[in-house]
């Protein structure tokens, strides 16, 4: 009976629940594209009720549909930029560790350089330079989020290079490509995947904040940042639901992504779960 609920299964259950929840949000958002934009003045400024779970705004738009839509846009954007960012981090980390001292100092300099500038500032600059919109924000997030993961991968590679079994394989006449493929990549994978998943919440939060500040997605798109910044004007008139529900959903999505990352870490490298 104890087998039924061991730790591994709990972790797995949490992981699956988070993934399903996020997938539902994503698919829901794609399906209710029409609804999110539909205005209906006969139902404006309604407080949350059974028909409109999150209430409606001053144009009579269903806030539930808008929130879903906004979240799905955020998740999509997070996925694109986190994937690009993680890929860049991986390549740079491997180059830095595998290709000698000059390459290493060049990459390390870039890492320190990007880390030295506040994220949000660089993000706004890149986003505005690329003409805002989905493209601008995606590029901005992708170009600012790689350094931390690149640093982790570089450190891991350097540590691996010093390990006896890789030195032995080298003396057994194995080539560099073989060493990287057979000995290094399998050790890097857990770090990489966990790092990739943990980039999502960052990407989503930064996307929302840049959009909130008006440097991100255009205002006709129902992004979470837009919803929140618009609702600021109506908070004083007592329409709390305009900000509360979308904000809470954003926090929930971010927490769930963290949960996925942490659970993935526990599954892929069980040793770290004791920390």
């Amino acid at each position: 009976m104890r087998e039924k609920n061991n730790r591994r299964q709990r972790v797995l259950a949490g992981l699956i629940f988070s993934v399903i929840f996020l997938a539902v949000v994503c698919i829901g958002g794609i399906l209710c594209k029409q609804e999110a934009a539909a205005t209906d003045f006969s139902r404006k400024n309604l407080a949350p009720c059974t028909e409109y779970l999150f209430g409606t705004d001053w144009l009579g738009r269903d806030m539930f549909a808008r929130t879903l839509r906004g979240l799905s846009v955020s998740i999509l954007l997070g996925m694109v930029s986190a994937a690009v960012s993680a890929a860049a981090a991986f390549v740079l980390g491997v180059i830095s560790a595998a290709m000698g001292r000059t390459a290493d100092s060049a990459v390390s300099f870039c890492i320190d350089w990007v880390m030295g500038i506040p994220h949000i500032l660089l993000l706004i600059l890149i986003s505005v330079a690329l003409g805002k919109g989905f493209r601008g924000v995606a590029a901005g997030v992708a170009l600012t989020h790689w350094p931390s993961l690149a640093r982790v991968i570089r450190a891991e590679m350097i540590q691996l290079k010093e390990s006896p079994y890789i030195q032995i394989a080298e003396k057994l006449g194995k080539r560099k490509g073989y060493l990287i493929r057979k000995h290094m990549l399998p050790h890097l994978m857990p770090q990489f995947f966990v790092g990739l998943v943990l980039l999502f919440p960052h990407a989503i939060l930064h996307e929302s904040s840049v959009t909130f500040l008006g440097f991100g997605l255009s205002s006709e798109q129902p992004a979470i940042g837009i919803i929140l910044s618009e609702s600021m004007r109506y908070l004083v008139t007592g329409q709390w639901w305009l900000a509360a529900f979308p904000g809470a959903m954003l926090v929930l999505v971010v927490i769930l992504f963290y949960e996925i990352g942490e659970n993935l870490r526990k599954l892929l490298s069980p040793g770290s779960a004791h920390e």
Binding site: P164, Y165, Q167, I168, K171, L172, G173, K174, K182
Partner: protein, 205 residues
């Protein structure tokens, strides 16, 4: 074949202080013939493992050279004819590779060698974490006995084995190296073992 160590000097880099570097090896000389098994003994911290790492090419000497048949060992490309067996087998195998892949990294290790070292075939499908230190060490010895090996450096390889296994492995190693004309350098604190196994003994002082 003949392995020559000529006037080898080596010091570990000291990061703190400008004081003079402590040479762990100074103009060390040694020659090993193919038919020999040379024992090497010294107290802890006298550079036995360092010497093995230098000879096998894991470290670069500050001065002096290592010659195999008169040619510098560094000029041999690919499989290194001088193989070292490390003291800690746990560090010497990739924890994410199955044992059969570990063995496959050696230079065409024959079945006969695996059998002679008492390695069971079903161990091949296990991961290093699923074997004991002694069992792992047998794999490390087998891996170092590939086709291209001419000299074998054994750095305290039997300390974690019980006496029966020790004797089993040393008998096999002596027979195998004599038959294939592989020279050996055996490092150990255990004087009795060296007297039993080696053709001559060198004190490193």
């Amino acid at each position: 074949m003949r392995l020559d160590v000529k006037e080898l000097s080596f010091a570990y880099q000291q990061r703190t202080g400008q004081g003079q570097q402590k040479h762990i090896l100074q103009e060390f000389q040694l020659s090993v013939e193919s038919r020999e098994r040379v024992g090497l003994t010294a107290p802890s911290g006298f550079g036995k493992t360092t010497l093995c790492k230098l000879i096998a090419g894991y470290l670069q000497p500050d001065a002096g050279e290592i010659l195999l048949d008169g040619k510098p060992l560094s000029s041999y490309r690919g499989y290194c004819p001088v193989q070292m067996i490390w003291q800690q087998p746990e560090q010497a195998v990739d924890p994410l590779l199955r044992m059969k892949d570990v063995i496959a990294e050696g230079d065409e290790v024959e079945e006969r060698i695996l059998a002679g070292l008492g390695i069971r075939t079903e161990w091949g499908n296990r991961f290093p974490g699923e074997l004991s230190g002694g069992e792992l060490q047998r794999f490390c010895i087998a891996r170092a006995l590939g086709k291209g090996t001419r000299f074998l450096l054994a750095d305290e390889i039997s300390t974690m084995l019980d006496l029966i296994t020790q004797s089993q492995i040393w008998h096999f190693l002596m027979e195998e190296t004599t038959q294939r004309n592989i020279g050996m350098l055996v490092v150990s604190h255990d004087r009795e073992l060296l007297e039993c196994v080696c053709t001559r003994i060198v004190e490193m002082i």
